[in-house]
Symmetry: C2
């Protein structure tokens, strides 16, 4: 459908008011895509409902008219889950941005789907509490989208994924029905947990309109340490040694190639003189002397054992931030090489062998490809990046990377890993879903979608084809 | 169906071997029920498969012959989820009791469904690790059953429910298909999380045959404190004050009526002289002096503020155990009064008002009923117990308790609570599901069941009728 007919436009305006139905090209380009850029957006319109009732009315209208809906949050996704490329109606939840009903006893707060992550973090802080899910897009991602994609980030090893912080969920299904799931209860074993089914379903089962979010006490002082290691098994040794004695809040890794680029292009200092094949960044609780002594003792035993080559520890908040930048600036730094990116996971113990297999196959076939590794290694989640050689035309690079994807996913499959650790499937990975989920599972997912969305109007074509 | 015809019996014996098909009355009585005693078991047979392949073959045979299956674990359930009262075939997973594939790096272990909880706990301890889900039936409950019912217990405030420790799940659906869900991954956002849908589905969506269980580092020294309080809001005040400064591993409560019975019938000592309306039992990390000082300071500020009347703290492991018995022996102690029991939850903040409403309505209608409260108050989970007055005939008591249930569930509904906090729905609570789940949700559950179990053979009639 290329354009809305007048009757449909009128119906949408009757629901949300004329000011909240958008058809101009600029607004449609804005609401029609996420942080992926590979697919041209082409929504028929964007509507911004101001209440849950309006969301329900829009869904019922879509059922009646056969119009497909793409739910839209902060559109910071990296798998094109929020891209509207097929003339869909974008339903942007931005205006459902109420935050309140805070309960100090329950440590919960009720948020509209459109509340921006950073605003929830700030709200928690005002109450003397903490919302621990954090990632690069916190300033624009929205709670509804975070839940729809089960967003992860840099604190998963300590605090889990978004899933772990959703105590209640209001969802509008594909029939316009409002489900009020779990209502903030800690214990509730009365029937199937539909809340967990909704979390991570990327808008294909329902539109998330409101959530009751759990908060926790603030983490207190955190120290940051960067350690250099001779190889990946040594990085795993570091993980095992440190998490046995310290409370880890983050355990990230990056390769020397990644560090070298960040140092060069961000004007940062190396954490220490020694250049090492791999680095681990550890964040752990406790600025107290006893904790720091334990950390130093572990560092020294690593050096003696040969699994640590050098290290640096933050002595202040500013130093901690500076060490974090070595890891956090990688993505932006390498973007100038328009890298091929892949977000994958295996069991933590399989990571070293997995990395080696991927490197072997890429190096054997394309020796001019430079691989940059980084990621949340404490969770088994690695980000594979391949930089485009300057001389190689983009189209050829993309074609070769298509091949690389197949090789990588075949290795993922062999290890029983996941083709999408934290970015979801959306459009970009649906062709690869079979590498990580069986045909029987995918058929079950299709049928579950039909239960919640019999008309097939909710984000059709995302995750799998119907 | 009252008896298996010869052909069917032969088919079962062909699958599992003659030694593992049971038809004698004693064995059927054993495998036909759980810890509930209200419903007479009447299974047609009990089979004990020795492999996942045998489970699949049994399911396919059941589909072909229309025989209903009741999956059976340790049968310690309290909602008749594992009762076979309608001539079903009991499929007992006892023989799937392998435990192994331990990974120190991943901190996971693979368990057959039939592994008894205490054996998993012991296995974890041998590896220097800890499996934190614990409850009274750990000595006989099995991992498969724990997962099927999302078992809770006494450490939920610190370590969550069984759900939080399942890193992977192998399930045989109602078509005999084997699903291998999540495979021990920490991060996996590739499609719907069917694992979480299975957890707590009480055998109605699939037979859990194997799980990859996460373990964690041991909790270290724990101290136990019992505090007396003048009323329920004061108990909540204790919760709020202590969890802000100490790492709580348990926060239980019980009433003076409960304590008095335990003291009298178990020959235990009161924790302190003062008799108080309510008691909180706190368990928290850290036997070190600083922690104990903080606990003492909180206790003193509670006494000054009037929200604590008296208290006692463990000075040794033996004392800690003795204090725990005051709470843990309640259930057994009051069993001689054949109490009416109900396992319900609300949001934590609603507990005091909820308790008061329940007491008011029961006292107004049945002033001779004695109410005993205890439970996992830090999770909003209370166990309501009403003792049968000696003079009242059992039938009349049960009839009146039927009325009480309606009143209680109406109050639960008003508070948005759950009719089953941790015991599941099974047969005993399915008539009350509408008090806690909407008609739309129940209809969705029915349809989801049809997706996994189109023939309707898996534990039919549990949770809801088809």
């Amino acid at each position: 459908m290329d354009r809305l007919d007048n009757a449909l436009q009128q119906s949408l305006e009757d629901i949300v008011g004329p000011a909240h139905v958008h058809r101009d090209a600029e607004t449609l380009a804005h609401y029609g895509r996420d942080w992926t850029r590979a697919i041209e957006p082409a929504p028929v319109a964007a509507v911004l409902p101001g209440s849950i009732g309006e969301v329900q009315a829009i869904v019922r209208l879509a059922v009646d008219t056969g119009l497909a809906i793409v739910p839209s949050g902060g559109r910071t996704g990296l798998s094109a889950g929020a891209v509207a490329a097929q003339g869909e109606l974008v339903v942007a939840l931005d205006r459902l941005d109420h935050i309140g009903d805070f309960s100090a006893v329950d440590r919960t707060v009720r948020c509209g789907a459109g509340v921006v992550t950073a605003r929830l973090q700030a709200f928690a802080e005002e109450q003397g509490l903490f919302y621990p899910v954090d990632f690069a897009s916190s300033g624009s991602s929205q709670i509804g989208g975070n839940i729809a994609t089960n967003a992860g980030g840099i604190k998963v090893i300590r605090h889990g994924m978004t899933r772990d912080w959703v105590a209640g969920l209001k969802v509008v299904t594909g029939t316009g029905e409002l489900l009020d799931l779990n209502r903030g209860l800690i214990k509730n074993n009365a029937g199937y947990d539909l809340r967990h089914l909704m979390i991570g379903s990327e808008g294909t089962l329902g539109l998330i309109v409101e959530a009751t979010i759990s908060l926790r006490e603030p983490p207190g002082d955190l120290a940051v340490m960067v350690l250099g290691a001779p190889d990946m098994p040594s990085i795993m040794r570091v993980l095992d040694a440190f998490r046995g004695e310290l409370q880890l809040h983050a355990f990230e890794f990056f390769s020397e190639d990644a560090l070298a680029r960040v140092i060069e292009h961000q004007g940062l200092q190396r954490p220490f003189e020694t250049s090492c094949p791999y680095y681990a960044l550890l964040e752990f609780a406790g600025g107290d002397d006893a904790t720091l002594e334990r950390a130093m003792a572990l560092f020294e035993s690593g050096v003696e054992g040969g699994w640590v080559l050098d290290g640096s520890i933050s002595q202040s908040v500013a130093q901690a931030r500076a060490l974090w930048r070595l890891r956090e600036d990688i993505s932006e730094t390498i973007s100038r090489w328009t890298p091929y990116k892949n977000d994958i996971s295996t069991r933590v113990s399989d990571v070293p062998a997995f990395l080696q297999e991927v490197e072997s196959v890429v190096n054997a076939n394309y020796p001019d490809f430079e691989i940059i590794w980084f990621g949340h290694i404490g969770d088994g989640n690695v980000h594979l990046n391949i930089l485009k050689p300057d001389a190689l035309p983009m189209a050829e690079f993309q074609a070769r990377c298509g091949e690389v994807s197949r090789w990588v996913f075949e290795i993922v499959q062999r290890y029983g890993g996941s083709v999408s650790a934290e970015h979801g499937v959306g459009l970009l990975k649906k062709d690869y879903l079979l590498y990580t989920r069986s045909a029987a599972e995918i058929e079950i997912m299709r049928q579950i979608k039909r239960v919640f969305d019999p008309a097939g109007i909710l984000n059709p074509g995302k995750i799998f084809d119907l």
